[in-house]
Every structure is written in C-alpha cells, then in structure tokens.
Symmetry: C2
Subunit: 154 residues, 2 copies
DNA sequence: TTCCGTGCAAATGATTTGCAGGACT
DNA sequence: AGTCCTGCAAATCATTTGCACGGAA
C-alpha cells in the first residue's frame, strides 16, 4: 500500500519530469497526479476522472487521459491490460512485484505472489536458454463472491 | 495443431448443438464454423471475417460475430482477453495447453508447459477462493540465439 | 507572438443492437 | 402466421484527436 510519503515523493518526481520536458505544473495536473499516485490499488481512467471531479468540477475527462499518459511516460504509473474493454493503471513506486487474478464476472482484481512459481519459471526459461526480462501471469476466473452467487443460481 | 479430422468432428458437434437449440445449419454458419474450428492458432473476429469473405463474399461482418458467439456458447471455441482492443478466439479441441516465451529481440515464440507451475497456480487460486477459468503466463526476454548475439557484441 | 494546457465536440475502432426483407415451417 | 437468419445502418463505449480559446514566457 502506498503511503502519503510515497505519494509525495512520486509527486516531486513527476514535477521534475514535467520540468525536464518543458511542460507545466498546472492545477489540473497536480490534482490528477496526486490522486493517481496515492491510489492504493489499480484504477481506471473513469475512476480517476470521478475522483478528480470531486476535487475540481472543472476538470475534463480528456485532461485526465492526457495526464495519465504523462504519468505513464514518466515511469511513475504503469498501464495494464487486465481486461479487454478498459485500461487499468497503478502507481509503480513502493509496490512489491505481484501477479493478478481477474474476475471475469465482476472485474475485481486480486493480487498474488508465489516465490515458487517465480523460481520455476526461471528454471523453465533456463532450460530453453531463454533470459527473462519481464513476465505476465494472469489468472482469469470467478472470485469467491461471484463463485458463491453462481452456485446459488445453479 | 488441429487436424482436418478434429475440425470435422467439431463441426458435427456444432451442428448437433444448433439442432438442440432449435437453430439452423445454414450456409454462412457452415462456412464460418469450418474456418474457426480448423484454425491452428488464435484468431480475431476480423481475421475470421476476412477468411469467410474469401469463401463467400456475401457474408456480413455481423454474421461472423453472431456465429462466433454461438461457437463460444457451444463450448467449441474459447474467447480470450489477450490484448485490450480486440477479442481473440481459439478452437478448444485438439491443441494441448501451453504458455509462451516471447523474444523481445527477434519476436520468436517458444511454447512451454510446466505441470508444477500449473499445480501451484491452482493452489494459490484456491487460497483466495478463486476459480480459474483460463490463464495467461507469458515470459518476455531474449531467446538463446539472441542472447548469444548480445554476448558477442558486449 | 509563440508555445502550452484545456475543455468541448467529433472521430475512432471493435463490438452490439434495431430493423426490415427473406426463407423455411 | 410465426419463427429464424441475415445484412445494413445505427448505436455503444472507452479512448483519442481536432479545434479554438485562454494564459504564460
């Protein structure tokens, strides 16, 4: 989980990034970046838009998308393809490596990590003379809540 | 890889499925289903549409989408969320399960399978009350060939 | 005066839905 | 008559782009 301190540090880095790129540290960008960088979980552009609106009703959806693009370029936020119909984002700093389970029914995302799997995939790669740079391991299915709902219906 | 025999068997099963549902075994459906069920790899609706068009120029894009939905309902074709902007499909029967290593340098794709990883991910899912429907495990990095080329250059 | 930042409206692209003409029962 | 099938056009929905105004250097 991202602490306020982490978010503050990330904000500084974002400001520096904008400066390096000759871009401005504006009100809307500050609002949007703060919310994105202090998110404690994955979020969608729509969610970030709603949070930003609550702080400043004049902020447009497009500015959210554009600021999100800048946050991704700066390396402070990662763009993830969890589901087909919308992008997900997550702040990068301070978060340990993890994989994802995605509920195909309610779209809920559960994080997991298993050192043994990480170790085994390194071994498999080595057997093929393959050197891993990064990897994706996603499990799609039904979360406990939706699984119970389905069982009840059946 | 799907053999012609596999495709033929799957076609029979699809015809039976339609019959059970009180639906018809029409020309467009026959064309589209044959192409989908004999695909040797993942494909998109657009690709299936193009293949179908080559066989019968009168087939509409919508019919491809609708037939694909029937194929998925019948359980003969799986719908996959590999990327965000379009759905992927693959015939279910005949192909053994496998994962992919993708060489970021030469784009070569190496298939692999590791039963121990499969088993561990089931255990992890169970710990979270999660029921896996399908999963993606992709390793990105350098294949043996490109790794050697890089070592030589370094 | 020349960028940059912004919101609005319109474009995009894959997919879905409304609708009307045909076909088969 | 009453379904089902189909293609076309239009609707959808998240995201992107065109445009014009306003502001800062």
């Amino acid at each position: 989980m991202l602490t306020t301190t982490d978010a503050r540090l990330a904000m500084d880095r974002f400001r520096q990034y904008l400066e390096r790129e000759g871009l401005s540290w504006t009100g809307p960008r500050r609002t949007i970046a703060l919310l994105a960088l202090s998110a404690r979980d994955h979020f969608t552009a729509q969610e970030l838009y709603e949070w930003s609106r609550r702080r400043d009703a004049s902020i447009g959806r497009v500015t959210v998308y554009r600021t999100l693009a800048l946050l991704v370029s700066s390396g402070l936020v990662a763009e993830r393809d969890f589901v087909r119909d919308r992008k997900h984002y997550e702040p990068i700093s301070g978060r340990p490596h993890h994989e994802h389970m995605i509920c195909v029914s309610c779209k809920r995302i559960i994080e997991f990590i298993n050192d043994e799997i990480e170790r085994l995939q390194e071994i498999v790669a080595k057997e093929h003379g393959f050197e891993i740079v990064h990897h994706i391991h996603k499990l799609f299915g039904y979360c406990s809540r939706c699984r119970k709902a389905r069982a009840r219906r059946a």
